[in-house]
Every structure is written in structure tokens, then in C-alpha cells.
């Protein structure tokens, strides 16, 4: 594996983990939410 390929692999793995992390975080926060969705009228959920 070349150095360039290692960099690309790291970037792709980081992007994939961030998507999984966001999804898990979303499921958790959804489970814990009480009377509000995200605390704002304009939200970026």
C-alpha cells in the first residue's frame, strides 16, 4: 500500500465512522428526548 492509498483509506474510514457515530448518537438522543426535538425552532437535525 502506498502512502497516498493509506491517506485515502484513513479519510474514507473517518467519514464512514462519522456517519455511523451520527446515526448512533441520533438514535440515543431520540430515545432520551422529552418534550422537545432539538431545542430550537430552526433545527439542523
Amino acid at each position: 500500500m502506498t502512502g497516498e492509498e493509506i491517506i485515502v483509506t484513513v479519510i474514507v474510514l473517518a467519514a464512514a465512522s462519522s456517519l455511523v457515530w451520527r446515526f448512533v448518537g441520533f438514535c440515543r438522543s431520540n430515545k432520551q428526548s422529552d418534550d422537545k426535538a432539538c431545542g430550537n425552532n430552526d433545527c439542523d437535525c
Binding site: L19, N30, S33, D35, A37, D42, C43, C45
Partner: protein, 850 residues
């Protein structure tokens, strides 16, 4: 009982209310907002088809359906003013309390959130229509060393809630202790333009036994209208501090903070109920005291009154003597045919009338009536007219969507050029390889493809914010009520549905202001059909690809038609739901009309900035991550060298020959795009080919081989393989694997479809770096040589996106608001099923016609 009712009044006619009847909850709400016997009311206008109507009562305008207006019996006015009881000054005592949490309470649209922002320095959303705040918000301000928590609560006309947002307020005010958010004191926000109706809430708040300070807002507007309440006198009559505050300039806010620490609990009520109510309350109160029943902070007599009029469930107080006595008292009241709620409201309003008579001299009340917001009245005569109002509504909405294209188009062009130039400048010099490909075709093509739509998002947000802040939205609800009620929705559904055009999540939450459960559920069910900001980039991209030569006005109208499609789908769904699962009687529609005002430009700028920032944030997080993953799925696994060689040799060339000829095609494209005459260009190309010792046919063949390589690479990539597996399902809609991959990505966020197209057409196409996404999509062909993006396919994709439910966050909010997974699961299946069927029909019929 008078045969003349508010519903039968001629427009412009003034009458005096003689009595109010109807179902208990409707009657109570009508009276609480000021429609009480003795008060004068004027019919102003009616909407198209005669319903709902707008009336003026006290010092404000109200809209309600004729079915509710028929409960208000009126009689022709005589010259004699209605009798009013004399107010008594209220004794009070100063409170030596530790104030740590203060709640802002008041009627809807009286300036609570503006004051909250002033007090805390926060920037919560404010708007000029009732029901902007639909949840509890909290902030802090510093007083010496101490942090004081301020709670901003949804507006309410009374502490008898009739909708979920009002329930949030009453739950907090009736909380048992500090752990359940009970405040230590209240700032009662009172609109100085509409003192009488706002003071009704005061008469209920003093029952809570909490210290109160009154913040008199809109004082400047009231002064312009000739209303100058005597603050000292008001303070004396209410027995609590009263501070005039100006939310725009901040005047009076510091004084209000100071007064918070000398707040007073009003000693007792100053109005008297008739004997027939006082006596039963007294008897119940004695039982409560004797049995030491926990009143949760209320006085025994107040709890007795609440139990007697059904405002508190007796089930909370499992005490047999109390239950027996209550049943007996209620039975006796029934025999006397006495409506306790009506008597209570009348007694409170009688006291309020007396207070107002003291603080506002008769001459001032007269001139105030004459000066009543003439500007709003004039504007309403056009914008709320039963015919011209609808025309104006359509013109306003069409202008918004046309402006989105006309204004945004040149800015988007600049964004596109800037992003392309940025990518080239940063990564163009890198040597070819996976990293350069990832950065150019994954990151820049994916994220950049989405970011170019920021101008359109900003312009749409700007117009929606202007409509919100001007006071037009409540009028639009009035205009739309008749149409919405014909499909089973409600005038109050209009604002949640319009809000959903920015994002369905706040729209669904805004449905909390709808009183009736069935109407609220129907609104929540159909809100995701409204074309949200995430759909806009998909619409704009496909309109630009397919309808590129029709001009911005036509493009704007096509965009508007997609928004209309969402509305039609919503209407159809609401109609079905209200005929089946949500079947029930037509509910009440009662809504206050705010005055028109110039939009607050800082507030508008904040909304535009926030929406644009959220869009960019999404592009920089989810969409960036998704674009990188998608790039990898399209880039890997790579084609074998033997396969590359085989494709080239099958076309009569070697791989080396193709790689030598490919850069020449870019040179020729450069000559063709130059500004020279056609003859000169031809001559230049001939000279160039002679110099390079090749032919145009050879270069074209090399380009074709390159495209075949790209196609083979895409087909055998992970995304390609997955997309091809999807093809049997999506083929009836006319989609190929690329669109299939885009549809899957759109379930993460709808804008990902645009990013996917950007990445797919950059990774997959040989000349992608030289052509825009629009061009690449226009030039894409199916295996049989026909264009992929023809009109039936594009419209089919547009219809799919207009109807489909692809937002997981929306589903989660629907679950939260409805309290069950049943509704979001139904939405997911129903909306996606409907989208599939309609998109298939569009493609099948469209392709046969074309």
C-alpha cells in the same frame, strides 16, 4: 335569548353581546378571549364563501368560523354603556423571597420572546403571529453574583389550556415544586394595546400564589393609537409592580430586572362571585382545609373553585368527603341551571373593565377606538378581501418562487465558478491518483454541488421570514381556513404547513398550537409533504438540467408547481385521513389577528443567516462524509489492467494510444470554446491535428474508449453493483443504477442526491472536470443511446422527491409529538408507496406520450 348572533351580523355592523352558549370548552374559550356579555363587537369581513369571519372585539381583531360565531348572541347597541362594577384597590404585601427562576407568561404574540431575548441576550426566534413559541425555553441573566433563570413559555389566553403548547405553560405554572420547574416568580407580559383581554390572564395568575411583576409591552404602539394607560394607577389597582418596556429599544428592561427583586404577591382577589358560586366554593374550601388536602401551592378556595368548574380532576384528590360534597354541589348548580364557568369569567371581566376604566379615561378609550390601527385596516381591506385577498395570496406566493430563481441564478453561477476554481487551484496541480480523485471528484464535486444552492435557500428563507414578521401569516390562515376545512384541515394548520417549507420539524412542532387532537394529527401527518429546504436543491438541479432554456420566470413557475404538488398530496391525504381514521366533528377555529408591522431587519437577517449556516453545516458534515464514502464505493474496486487493455484493443487501439490522445480532446474543446469565428476554429483544429499527427476520428475514438472504461469501472464498483441490484425495483420509474444510488443516499439527507449526482458524474465520466454537473447529466445516455435524463425521467424523479418520506429526523419528531411509532411508520410506508406509484405512473405515461 336573542335570535341575532355574531354569525348573522352584517359586515360593518356593531352589536353588544347578550349571551354566549355552545359546548362547554368552546364557550369558555370564546369568553376567555373577551367575547363576554355586555361587550361591543363589530363584524369586519368574511372570507371567500362567507367563512370564517373577522370581528373586532375590545381592542383587537379576531377570526372565527361562523359555526362558533353562532354561539355568540348579540343585540343591537343602545347609547348607554355597559354597566361595570367598581374596582377596588388591592392591598398587597412585599415578598421577601429568594428569586432564582422566573417565568414569562402572557397572551400569544404579546412580545414574551422579544423580552426573553432582551433579558437573557439570547436570540430565540420571534415572529408576528400567535404561536411562535411552542416549547419551554430557558436562559439566564446575572443579578449581582446570582444567575437568575428565565423561562419563556408558550403564550396562552388562559390557564385552562386548549392546546398542547398552552398545556406546557399550565403544567409549569402548576408544577408542584422547583424540581419540576416551578418558577419563583412571574413576569406577566401584557400588551398595552389590548389591556383588557391580557389582564384576564392576570386574574388567573394571581390564583397561583406567586409573586408577579407586570411588563407592559407595545407601549409605544399603544401611545400612537391614543392609549396611554396610567401606570401608577394600574400598579395600585393590581397591587403588583408594573413596568413599561420597549422590546425594540430595550427601554425599561433594566427597571424590570430591578423590580423583580421587589415583586409582590397580590394579597387576594378583588372581584366577587355571585352568592350561588361563593357558597359552594366556601363549603368545599372548608372540607379541603379540614382534611388537610395538599393544594399544590393553591389556596383552598381557589382549588375549590377549580374543582367545581372542572378545571382540576377530582381524581387527583382521593378524599371521600370532598368527592361527595363536590358531587352534591355540582348537582345543585345543575338544578339551578347555572353555568359556573360563565359566571366566573363574567365576574373577572367585570373587574377588568373597572380596572381599565380607571387607568384609561373614557375620552382616551373613545379616541383609541377611532384610531384603531388604521394602517392594518386599510391593508386588510385588500389582503384579506374575499376575492382580492386570494389573488394577492397567489401573487405573493408566485413572486417568492420566481424571485428564488431570478435573484439566485447569477449568484449561483458565481458560486459554481468559485468552487470549480477553488478545487482546481488547490488540487489541480497534484499528480493523478486516488487522493486527487477523492478531493476533486468526491469532496469538491459532492459538497460543492450542494453548497451552490445556498443562495436559493437564503432567498427562500428571506421571503418566508418577511411574511412571518410582517403579520401576514395570520391573515393567510384566515384566507385558507375555508379551503383547508374542505379537506378536513384547519386555518391554524396553515402556519405549521408553511413553516414546513423551510423544514418539516419545526412545522410539526408548530402543530402544537392546534387545539383539536384530530386536526393536529392530520396536520402532522401531511406536514412532510410540504417541499422543505432539502428538496429545493434537487428540484433546482433537475429544473436546470431539463428546463434550461425556458427562462427564470417559467423555471420559477415549474418550481411553484412542485410546491403545489406537495400541497395537493397533503390535501388528498388529509381528506382521506379525516374521512377514516381521524373522522370527527368540525373543530373550532379562533385566531387573533396581529397588527401589521415593518419586519425587524435584524431578526430577518438572523433567520436567513441561521438557515444558510445550517445548510452549509449539513454540507460540511453529513454530506461531506457521505460524499467521501460514496466516492470510495464508486472508485473501488479498480478495473484490472487486463480489462482496460481488452476494452481498448476491442476498439482497435492500445491503452497507451488512448492515454496519449485523450489530453488532445481537451485542447480541441478549448479551441471550440474560443471566441474565434467558425472558419478560424476549423482552421485552428486542422493545424493542431496536423501538428499532433493524428485525426479527429482517432481522438473521438479514444474519448469513446475512455467513456467505456469509466462505464466499466462504475458498473463493477461497490456502488455500481448495489445500484444494479436495485434496478429491477426502480426500472418501472425509468431510473438507472446511478439514480438508484442517489435515492438511497437521499435517505440520509435529501440534498445527498445532488451530492451523489456530483460524485457519480465526476468519478464516472471521462471529461467531468471540464463540464458542469448540468452538462454531464444532460449528456448522459442509456445503453441504447437514448438520453437518460429525458423529461419523463426528470419529472418522475421530481414527483418521487415531492412525495417520498426520506427524513429520519422528521419521523423521530412525529413519534415524539404523537407519542407512538404507529404514525411515523404509517407515514414512511404511505408516503414512499404513494411516491413509487406516482413516479411510475408519470414515467410510464410520459414515455409513451413522448
Amino acid at each position: 335569548m336573542s335570535a341575532l348572533t355574531l354569525a348573522t351580523l352584517k359586515m360593518g355592523q356593531t352589536a353588544r353581546i347578550s349571551s354566549v352558549d355552545g359546548p362547554a370548552h368552546v364557550k369558555r374559550r370564546l369568553m376567555e378571549i373577551g367575547l363576554i356579555p355586555g361587550v361591543e363587537v363589530t363584524a369586519i369581513r368574511q372570507a371567500l364563501l362567507g367563512d370564517p369571519i373577522e370581528v373586532q372585539v375590545m381592542h383587537y381583531h379576531l377570526t372565527l368560523r361562523k359555526s362558533q360565531a353562532a354561539f355568540v348572541h348579540v343585540e343591537e347597541t343602545s347609547d348607554e354603556p355597559a354597566a361595570a362594577t367598581e374596582a377596588q384597590a388591592i392591598a398587597s404585601h412585599a415578598l421577601d423571597a429568594q428569586i432564582e427562576r422566573v417565568a414569562l407568561v402572557g397572551n400569544p404574540n404579546c412580545g414574551k420572546t422579544s423580552l426573553f431575548n432582551r433579558l437573557t441576550g439570547l436570540r430565540q426566534k420571534v415572529g408576528n403571529y400567535p404561536g411562535v413559541t411552542i416549547e419551554r425555553r430557558s436562559g439566564f441573566f446575572k443579578h449581582g453574583e446570582k444567575d437568575i433563570e428565565i423561562l419563556d413559555l408558550p403564550g396562552t389566553y388562559s390557564l385552562n389550556p386548549s392546546s398542547p403548547d398552552e398545556r406546557i405553560t399550565t403544567q409549569i405554572l402548576n408544577a408542584k415544586n422547583k424540581q419540576t420547574a416551578k418558577p419563583d416568580a412571574l413576569i406577566l407580559v401584557v400588551d398595552a394595546c389590548n389591556l383588557a383581554r391580557n389582564l384576564y390572564l392576570y386574574t388567573q395568575c394571581i390564583d397561583l400564589g406567586l409573586p408577579i411583576v407586570v411588563a407592559l409591552t407595545m407601549f409605544d404602539i399603544a401611545e400612537k393609537e391614543g392609549i396611554q394607560a396610567d401606570i401608577k394607577e394600574l400598579e395600585c389597582l393590581l397591587g403588583v409592580p408594573v413596568v413599561a418596556v420597549n422590546n425594540h429599544s430595550g427601554e425599561g428592561v433594566e427597571a424590570l430586572k430591578e423590580k423583580l427583586f421587589s415583586v409582590r404577591i397580590p394579597k387576594d382577589r378583588s372581584w366577587e362571585y355571585p352568592e350561588s358560586i361563593q357558597e359552594p366554593c366556601k363549603r368545599l374550601g372548608e372540607i379541603i382545609r379540614e382534611n388537610k388536602i395538599d393544594c399544590h401551592g393553591l389556596k383552598a378556595d381557589v382549588l375549590a373553585e377549580r374543582l367545581l368548574c372542572g378545571a382540576k380532576p377530582i381524581s387527583e384528590y382521593a378524599n371521600q368527603p370532598l368527592i361527595s360534597q363536590l358531587e352534591q354541589e355540582q348537582q345543585e348548580l345543575k338544578q339551578q341551571e347555572l353555568d359556573i364557568n360563565e359566571e366566573i369569567i363574567r365576574a373577572r371581566y367585570a373587574w377588568i373593565t373597572a380596572v381599565c376604566n380607571h387607568v384609561l379615561p373614557e375620552s382616551m378609550r373613545q379616541s383609541a377606538r377611532q384610531n384603531l390601527d388604521k394602517f392594518s385596516l386599510k391593508l386588510d381591506s385588500l389582503l384579506v378581501h374575499k376575492f382580492f385577498g386570494l389573488i394577492a395570496f397567489n401573487i405573493i406566493m408566485a413572486s417568492v418562487f420566481i424571485a428564488v430563481f431570478i435573484i439566485a441564478d447569477p449568484i449561483m453561477g458565481m458560486f459554481e465558478d468559485g468552487i470549480a476554481g477553488f478545487g482546481d487551484a488547490l488540487f489541480g496541480g497534484m499528480s493523478d491518483g486516488p487522493l486527487k480523485d477523492l478531493l476533486l471528484n468526491g469532496v469538491i464535486a459532492g459538497v460543492g454541488g450542494v453548497v451552490v444552492f445556498v443562495p436559493q435557500i437564503a432567498i427562500l428563507s428571506l421571503f418566508l421570514a418577511l411574511l412571518e414578521d410582517s403579520g401576514y401569516l395570520a391573515r393567510a390562515s384566515f384566507l385558507m381556513d375555508r379551503l383547508l376545512s374542505s379537506v378536513g384541515l384547519h386555518g391554524k394548520s396553515f402556519i405549521p404547513l408553511l413553516t414546513s417549507h423551510a423544514c418539516a420539524i419545526p412545522g410539526i412542532m408548530a402543530a402544537r398550537s392546534i387545539e383539536d387532537r384530530r386536526d393536529r394529527l392530520a396536520t402532522i401527518l401531511v406536514a412532510p409533504f410540504m417541499a422543505c429546504g432539502a428538496r429545493l436543491p434537487v428540484y433546482a438541479l433537475l429544473i436546470a438540467v431539463i428546463f434550461h432554456d425556458v427562462g427564470p420566470v417559467m423555471q420559477g413557475l415549474i418550481l411553484l408547481s412542485l410546491y403545489v404538488l406537495g400541497v395537493v398530496a397533503a390535501a388528498f391525504t388529509a381528506f382521506l385521513a379525516k374521512k377514516t381514521a381521524l373522522k370527527g366533528p368540525s373543530p373550532a377555529f379562533i385566531m387573533e389577528f396581529p397588527s401589521y408591522r415593518m419586519p425587524q431587519w435584524m431578526q430577518v437577517a438572523r433567520i436567513v443567516g441561521r438557515n444558510s449556516w445550517l445548510f452549509c453545516k449539513k454540507a460540511g458534515t453529513i454530506i461531506l462524509a457521505f460524499s467521501i464514502c460514496l466516492w470510495a464505493m464508486l472508485y473501488y474496486p479498480r478495473l484490472d489492467q487486463s480489462e482496460i487493455d481488452r476494452i481498448a484493443s476491442d476498439n482497435g487501439m492500445s491503452t497507451e494510444q488512448v492515454e496519449t490522445l485523450l489530453p488532445l480532446s481537451e485542447d480541441i474543446a478549448g479551441i471550440e470554446e474560443s471566441e474565434a469565428s467558425e472558419d478560424d476554429k476549423e482552421q485552428q483544429i486542422k493545424t493542431f491535428l496536423t501538428e499532433q499527427k493524428t485525426t479527429l476520428a482517432a481522438i473521438e475514438k479514444a474519448t469513446a474508449i475512455d467513456q467505456e472504461w469509466a462505464g466499466a469501472q462504475s458498473r463493477q464498483s461497490i456502488a455500481g453493483t448495489a445500484g444494479h441490484m436495485l434496478e429491477p425495483i426502480i426500472a418501472p420509474m425509468g431510473y438507472d443504477w446511478k439514480i438508484g444510488v442517489g435515492l438511497i443516499g437521499a435517505f440520509a439527507a435529501r440534498e445527498v442526491f445532488v451530492a451523489t449526482m456530483g460524485t457519480v458524474y465526476s468519478v464516472g465520466e471521462a471529461e467531468a472536470e471540464d463540464e458542469s454537473l448540468h452538462e454531464a447529466m444532460k449528456n448522459d445516455k442509456r445503453s441504447d443511446g437514448k438520453p437518460l435524463w429525458d423529461i419523463p425521467v426528470a419529472i418522475s424523479v421530481l414527483v418521487f422527491f415531492a412525495i417520498a418520506m426520506q427524513c429520519i429526523s422528521t419521523l423521530a419528531v412525529v413519534k415524539q409529538e404523537t407519542g407512538t411509532w404507529r404514525w411515523p411508520v404509517f407515514q414512511l410506508l404511505y408516503m414512499n408507496g404513494l411516491a413509487y406509484i406516482l413516479a411510475t405512473l408519470v414515467y410510464q405515461i410520459g414515455s409513451r406520450i413522448s
